[in-house]
Symmetry: C2
Subunit: 716 residues, 2 copies
């Protein structure tokens, strides 16, 4: 979900504006240095870092240089790009608003061919900039110092909102006399106002003439948890390009602003529970992973590239696992990230119908991923990484401690077997499970999304999304269910006096560019489990299940809806890479609990988020098809989604393919979600299937007492 | 899956027999002491126990006394029952074979009325014994020293196998000349034989004249992992009552016994991987839970009774959670346990069709739950509990360290919220998640089932089942897929040379006697999410989701199949217990990934396991309806299953109800499952829904550095 929110007083407003335009962390502007000579020395000494338990990123961002073709733009590079754009003739009169500025990744073949020590492929930036109300997509070549491509976007949709957009929307709202009168009439002091900016969605011709956004406000009187104190029914529509209020909708005047009692969730504000005894994951020798050159993670049999992205958040690239027999590093996934996040609310009211957020494309999952809180967001021995992002004015800023990496031991079992003593074998063989987690938490306004990429030594990757933060709530005149005349007409649950938690969904669509052993020669196979009736009369059994393999020839063959009573496994295989036994190497996607979008396919939000029409899609690799809702998601009309691409029905057999998986949640709120929600999570797995010759962790060691640390209380 | 397996040499055989008949741990026979005077002193000092990191149960079983109405029978009680049965006239000529002997739990009302310090309700035992080929169910009253009920079972099915049955089946097989000749003809030395005893299932009239069992054998030459070396097609049918071989089926003579190369999974036998740095969950002050009187667990806001059961394994009773506002202990669940485990294999061959195990009722999940391995099965600071079970001769034996309890911190987040700095609030509030896990691992022959009951401070209970151990494999002449003439006809995956991992399912059905606040006044509500078309023209949205609540009136209303495109939440509520807001207190069952049984409903194994025809059932409480496949599961015909009970369509509204949930897995094996399977797990949750007035862990404390221990390597 949604929106960023805001302070009333114009003085504070301008302070905030200044902070943002100059970045979270003020930075001086060093000269650009093209050399990557420092790269090989940048192996992070995790053990040392963690012995002192300080989440100090080891990067000197001002002087950092790219070391890998996929490394994000550095501060020096961003500054140089800003200079290049400043000198670019079409922008001579005024610097454009930067809505996106990130590495234009080299061609996949270049990346795959690159080896450590090779010179980097040419560094380029992909920029989305708005100038004179036109959206440009530009390619900037850092070596030549030139803008090499510049296309004006003509289709539907607008770029991701900038913070300037959000600030402007609130500013013009707060400056509107009618709005202020309406607020005062509802008994809310202007000094207590806190406003958020829900995206407007797209609902037909009324909204096709420019960028619009909604502004809704809350009272923060007596609580920082203003989300629980909505001024219900007061919705302002702002034209973002003209920077003016175009509509004020004021309904629901009989609905009081909820009181906000017991909504403060800050430590010491809430009555404290008796704490549990201290507990922590301890690693006296430090973690077993290393981070080389700032982005290459090496752990157990895994190696991958990790980076922060302003839109996607956390991006895993070049994930490779070591073969358990040959020790060869084998490709599993070229790139994996959360491509879009669709959150439709289920209320048709004037103040609610448009709440159908596409958080990645409209707001950005990386830019809202605030610093992780050590010991609480991530365990003690975590390693933290920063993001380096770009503000609307083209200035770089650092998003500190945005990603953490840690080894997890949760008391789980990797594999086990005990023999009953009567076999004569006295066997109790058990291996504990230790995994590596890469985590990010995006606070997209009220909601917090925790993204985990968990790597297992058995080759499995678990991708988990946790939801916490605040409900998006609706004011109601009712304080008790017995006052509700028709409970069937409620669009949510009464979660506190005068507060309804409105029913909504969350769909997170992942782009998973699987490259099993090779970028080419990959195929998608549905292994269907089919009930067969036994008609032979040769067995007393009447039925059994049989697997039927179906290789997807074209995209439509791979538009998959899960069926409990017609189940399948879904494999990405490399038919050219066979095991000793002749089985093709593969990975399967293993769904966990999920939910499907049920909205009408012609409903505008569902058209825009048609990528949620299936749980799985497979497309041929196309470097422009990264964002499931389209590059220009804001107010898009659904003409550039994954669903549209897939409808072209391109061949996907024995080629370079991308798997798309949507993880879904239906959320019917309950009182326990008030005033802050206990985390709800769900996950799916990418699991090797005949990829290894046999169990790759057969030789894993058990834990022995002698290996474990001696611990004592720190204050004793 | 299933079966228990065996040694050839008769000398060793008799040694084993002796060990079993006299119990795993030889015990002297102390006098029975009826007093419970020691109970109040039996508070386990977990912290101390764990400071020395020894999994030493603190129970002196010989002298233990029951302290709670639900406490399992003690050794003294079991011995007394044996004496009573010995003196029981109908058994005067010979002591019967004991197939089950456990506490006959007092009436629920008696248990609910009991308070600590009250005298215990009369102690009784429920016994299933076979005498003269007749199955008796007996009630033994410990106070009067009398058998108070004795019913001869006349329906279909037989009691759970005893170890004597298994030993006898193998013994008569190994003594059979034709069998031995067949083994030798296949080139297997009799001294290398290892035999298992799959249950026979029930397939019509041929098998209705007595108890039969199958025996299949393997070679353990060169490996303890004999499961990977099947003597394919050689299946012996043994009449268990007459103790004789009734059929030898010998097919597949052209199929070699697989070689067993690289199948030894014992540490040091497999080439060792470079170990990861040591990692452990540390608790310098010890865990935060206590175990009172051996069975009452108190942790954070939870209190429950836990015990080991020979058939169900781990039983949780009287689970209560403290109200976050009133601190009142409130009932959530009266009793929860794994009631049955159905594992059908998907191969019609003479040697395979019958493999449709019902592991709880046929073999027992508790009796196969061997001692947990400290530091590997459970983390360092775990507390271990024993089971006290009964052998076929009525003698008690101790199943040591069968259950572990531990606090888990996995680096996860209980709840969190960060505010974007532009709101003016500098908020980063995060609470780490710490949970309490009760674990058991049943090794039912080749397969290992890890059962976790995880309690969260937010009121959620997660029930998780992990599968590990060995595949049940089938011999094949083929060493490579390119030798297979028709791959579509394979019933599984070639996982090693000459080894097929046969496709199969696992269904674990849980009995969940939910008592939300009260045993009475509970109802089951399906909260259906329905797509509504917007026909009003008042909103630009075309559709939205609406919740429709449907209270189940009778059992058939609560026969639930999950539907991704017609989704619902499933609540057990107490309409008499309303929150301040007027919402009924409830818990919902939240499915995770699952699978449905697809077999024909008329197929004999599916008739017997018809409890898997739905994912959820709700029945009115009936103390005799504990076992989803019927009390007499072995060779049952499906006439006493949950499905049969439910078909009576009894009222279930506003009464004492039991929720049944089936967790399912389809398992298409892959090479990674050879020779031992990495754990695959799935879970479901019981989650409070308007049970608490608000988030019960709002006041939870974050973790601070000062609370965490100082650790160093033990050898440094």
């Amino acid at each position: 979900m949604e929106k960023t929110s805001f302070l009333y007083f114009s003085i504070i407003f301008f302070i905030v504006f200044f902070i943002f335009s100059s970045s979270f962390y003020p930075l001086s502007k060093p000269e650009f240095v093209g050399s990557s000579s420092r790269c090989t020395k940048l192996i992070s000494s995790i053990s040392e870092t963690n012995q002192v338990h300080k989440p100090t990123p080891d990067h000197d961002h001002k002087n950092s240089t790219p070391c890998h073709p996929l490394d994000p733009l550095t501060i020096q590079e961003i500054n140089k790009i800003r200079d290049i754009l400043s000198l670019y003739a079409p922008f001579a009169s005024s610097f454009p608003a930067i809505h996106s500025l990130s590495l234009d990744e080299p061609d996949k073949n270049q990346v795959l061919a690159w080896k450590k020590g090779d010179p980097l492929p040419p560094r380029k930036a992909f920029v989305v900039a708005v100038s004179n109300n036109k959206s440009h997509t530009l390619t900037v070549d850092l070596d030549s110092g030139q803008v090499t491509e510049d296309t004006v976007h003509t289709g539907s949709g607008y770029p991701t909102l900038s913070l300037d957009d959000i600030l402007a929307a609130v500013q013009v709202t707060l400056a509107d006399a009618d709005f202020n009168e309406s607020v005062i009439n509802r008994g809310v002091a202007l000094s207590d106002l806190q406003c958020i900016t829900p995206s407007a969605g797209w609902y037909g011709q009324d909204e096709e003439n420019g960028r619009v956004i909604k502004v809704q406000c809350f009272s923060n009187e007596g609580t920082p948890n203003f989300y629980m104190r909505p001024i219900e029914g007061l919705t302002v529509t702002v034209d973002l390009d003209r920077r003016k209020v175009v509509k004020i909708s004021s309904t629901g005047r009989g609905i009081p602003v909820p009181k906000g009692t017991n909504t403060d969730y800050r430590y010491h504000a809430a009555p404290e529970k008796k704490p549990l005894n201290p507990i922590s994951i301890e690693q006296p020798k430090g973690p077993s992973f290393s981070v080389e050159d700032g982005h290459i993670v090496k752990w157990a049999n895994w190696e991958f590239h990790i980076k922060a992205d302003q839109r996607a958040g956390l991006v895993i690239s070049r994930a490779m696992v070591r073969d358990s027999e040959t020790s060869e590093l084998r490709s599993v996934m070229y790139k994996g990230f959360s491509s879009e996040l669709f959150v439709p609310y289920m209320d048709l009211d004037e103040s609610w119908y448009f709440k159908t957020y596409m958080d990645a494309g409209e707001f950005g999952l990386g830019v809202t991923a605030l610093p992780l809180m050590p010991l609480n967001d991530c365990p003690r021995h975590s390693y933290y990484m920063d993001g380096v992002f770009v503000a609307a004015d083209g200035e770089p800023f650092v998003q500190p401690n945005m990603i953490c990496l840690f080894e997890r031991y949760a008391g789980d079992i990797s594999w086990r077997h005990s023999e009953l003593p009567l076999t004569g074998f006295q066997i109790r063989e058990v291996r504990p499970k230790v995994t590596l987690v890469a985590r990010m938490a995006a606070s997209v306004g009220n909601y917090d999304y925790i993204f985990d990429w968990e790597f297992q030594t058995d080759g499995l990757i678990r991708i988990k999304v946790g939801l916490s933060g605040m409900l998006m709530v609706k004011g109601t005149p009712h304080e008790n269910m017995n006052q509700v005349p028709d409970q069937d007409e409620m669009t949510g649950t009464l979660v506190s006096k005068n507060v309804i938690g409105v029913v909504h969904d969350h769909f997170i669509t992942f782009h998973l560019d699987m490259d099993i052993d090779d970028r080419a020669n990959n195929s998608f196979v549905e292994v269907n489990l089919v009930k067969e009736e036994n008609l032979t009369g040769k067995s007393p059994r009447k039925s059994y299940l049989k697997t039927k393999r179906r290789v997807a020839k074209t995209e439509k063959d791979a538009q998959i809806k899960f069926k409990l009573y017609d189940p399948s496994e879904f494999h990405v295989i490399n038919p050219s890479r066979r095991s000793h036994l002749g089985n093709p190497a593969g990975y399967k996607v293993v769904p966990g609990g999920t939910a499907a979008s049920l909205l009408d396919h012609d409903d505008p939000p569902q058209r825009r988020s048609a990528f949620t029409n299936n749980q799985i899609w497979v497309t041929p690799y196309n470097r422009t098809e990264q964002w499931a809702g389209g590059l220009f998601t804001y107010q898009s009309r659904g003409d550039d989604t994954l669903a549209v691409w897939s409808e072209r029905n391109r061949p996907i057999e024995n080629t370079d393919i991308v798997l798309w998986y949507t993880l879904g949640f239906h959320h019917i709120p309950c009182q326990e979600d008030f005033p802050v929600m206990p985390t709800v999570s769900s996950s799916f797995d990418l699991k090797p299937v005949n990829f290894f010759e046999s169990n790759p962790i057969l030789g894993a060691a058990p834990t022995f007492e002698k290996d474990l640390p001696t611990c004592k209380l720190t204050d004793s």
